[in-house]
């Protein structure tokens, strides 16, 4: 199937997973990601897959742990409050070195918050998606087409490094419709000799476990994992640079916000201010190298987010005090308008 169709972001999340060979989905409805589950519930029974609406988010993510431990591609999805409920099992997946895909179509928080789009789960995704020392790969698509590409990549890299991966989207991206071309993924699922898939008396049995009662043994496990994280940080940073060649103001934004920022950047240039946009595609690992490349070129960075200022801390870490780092954000489900971002760019450009 390589034709152009019109899809919602949430539908693309589901269809991409199916195309990537993930026919096991465990979920629980929550706005604004419910279409992921709804689409899976319609598609999976027809192709011999399993769509299971669990009794809770935590149950769904434990089912994901179990399915992924057997070596198959599996996923769960939710929106912000639901992701909080899933984090226990996500930590277990990280501690068990199990690759799996978790989708967060973010909405306003904290608490039950609201149902409009938000990017206020950045800290949760990149710092603490559960207890303990661990990271998950975090991918941030900005278009419905890119959702397809990043779902493929997320499954592939999660298996390569044996880590959980997250697609961090937002309600706007999940709900909007755009034309997409559905193409088969370029890569096949990795071999998984570690999987608890039945030894059939041909090998030793595999154990998937995150419990290590000897402190030194647990420490060694975590240290080994952090060595993998170093390789990931070196090899997996991804970012898009837009009008950055001669930019004097670098606006950093990801996801749906980056599209608002690009519109503002273009307008700022028409008004004589040399602005550009750096769009992180991976949020962990953060594209520190791309940001750092511009510290001698630009006079300041501006992080624009649908939050009170979370990713801005990663921009500051990458810039390391070389030039000022400013912030502009709206939160609670309010989407910044291009005009507001433009006003901030023009203020910095003076």
């Amino acid at each position: 199937m390589s034709k152009r169709v019109l899809m919602k972001g949430n539908e693309a999340l589901a269809e991409a997973a199916i195309q990537a060979g993930c026919i096991h989905f465990f979920g629980y409805p929550i706005t604004p990601q419910t279409e992921v589950a709804a689409y899976m519930s319609k598609r999976l029974p027809k192709i011999g897959g399993v769509y299971l609406q669990a009794e809770s988010e935590l149950a769904a993510s434990n089912m994901l742990l179990g399915a992924a431990a057997s070596g198959i591609r599996a996923m769960t999805s939710s929106s912000s409050p639901g992701i909080s409920l899933k984090t226990e099992a996500i930590s277990y997946m990280a501690g068990s070195d199990v690759p799996a895909l978790i989708v967060n179509v973010q909405r306003g928080g904290p608490g039950l918050g609201g149902i409009q789009p938000s990017q206020a789960d950045y800290f949760q995704a990149t710092r603490a998606l559960g207890h303990g020392d661990f990271q998950v790969l975090v991918f941030a698509p900005a278009t419905v087409q890119e959702i397809m590409d990043l779902v493929y990549l997320a499954f592939d890299r999660a298996e390569e490094y044996r880590v959980p991966a997250m697609i961090l989207a937002d309600g706007m991206l999940g709900q909007m419709m755009e034309p997409v071309v559905i193409e088969k993924p370029q890569t096949s699922p990795h071999e998984k000799p570690w999987a608890a898939s039945g030894h059939q008396n041909k090998r030793r049995h595999n154990i998937i476990n995150s419990l290590y009662l000897q402190a030194e043994e647990l420490e060694n496990r975590v240290i080994e994992r952090y060595k993998r994280y170093e390789i990931i940080k070196e090899k997996e940073q991804r970012a898009e640079e837009y009008l950055m060649e001669d930019a004097e103001i670098a606006v950093v934004a990801y996801g749906a916000t980056s599209r608002i920022v690009k519109a503002a950047v273009k307008e700022a240039r028409e008004q004589g201010v040399k602005a550009g946009c750096i769009r992180p595609i991976t949020l962990w690992p953060y594209p520190t190298d791309t940001i750092a490349k511009y510290v001698n070129q630009v006079k300041c960075f501006l992080s624009v987010e649908m939050s009170m200022g979370q990713m801005v801390e990663d921009v500051r870490l990458a810039v390391n005090g070389a030039v000022p780092v400013e912030f502009y954000g709206r939160t609670g489900g309010v989407i910044p308008e291009p005009g507001e971002v433009l006003a901030k760019i023009m203020e910095l450009g003076r």
């Binding site: 019109l6 919602k8 604004p32 149902i115 709900q175 291009p338």
Partner: protein, 222 residues
């Protein structure tokens, strides 16, 4: 299709009902003084016609939204004003139903009232939507909607498009699909919705051509 007081816009999920409903309401307003748009979509809290209410009220079109539409409260509650509106006072009432049978369920509540007043129910179809990409799938969803709404579809709207990738070929390629859907269901194709710019540029000459403007757009295109 005989003219009726109520026009219901139903369709498969994401077929473009809301954008079509807004255009239809604006078009009806050019002929009638008292036009009402009822947003009956209690399934999808994003991109629904209530979000565009100021553009409609400016043109003198009344709108009834789900009670909590536009708030961040995800409670599927219909307004009691709907009942009053169906009792009279409007020359044209356009009902923007939710997608699929799930979205049409709310219509079922009002089916006997609507039947009493007299209605046309238009089924909006877009062949570029993956779960309705064959005439057979689209016809199946149509049947499910009729069962949930307890009302009968009276005509089809060809709203086949690919967002900003839409061109004249996009529309021409949908003719066979929509004709087959019409054949399968025994229903007439009442309108073919085409973006005004494309219709003008290509001097499209098709029966039931309905030129539309795109109202449902993301914030970076506003």
């Amino acid at each position: 299709m005989e003219e009726k007081n109520i026009i219901i816009i139903c369709g498969h999920y994401g077929s473009g009902k809301t954008n079509f409903s807004i255009n239809l309401a604006l078009s009806e307003r050019r002929m009638y003084e008292k036009v009402l748009l009822i947003d009956m979509d209690i399934v999808n809290p994003y991109f629904r016609s209530s979000d565009y209410s100021s553009a409609l009220t400016e043109k003198g079109i009344d709108i009834i939204s789900p009670i909590y539409a536009g708030s961040t409260l995800d409670i599927p509650a219909l307004s009691p004003k709907i009942d009053a509106a169906l009792s009279g006072g409007y020359q044209k009432i356009i009902i923007d139903a939710g997608g699929d049978d799930a979205g049409a369920t709310a219509l079922g509540t009002f089916s006997s009232r609507i039947s009493g007043v007299g209605y046309n129910m238009l089924y909006v179809a877009n062949m570029y939507r993956p779960l309705a990409d064959t005439p057979e799938k689209a016809a199946q969803i149509l049947k499910e909607i009729e069962a949930a709404a307890r009302l009968k579809v009276t005509g089809i709207v060809n709203n086949s498009h690919l967002g900003e990738y839409t061109d004249i070929d996009t529309i021409n390629s949908s003719v066979n699909y929509i004709d087959k859907l019409s054949e399968l269901t025994g229903l007439p194709v009442v309108y073919t919705a085409v973006k005004r710019q494309i219709a003008d540029e290509s001097r499209l000459d098709i029966n039931g051509l309905f030129e539309i403007d795109i109202h449902v757009i993301p914030p970076w295109k506003e």
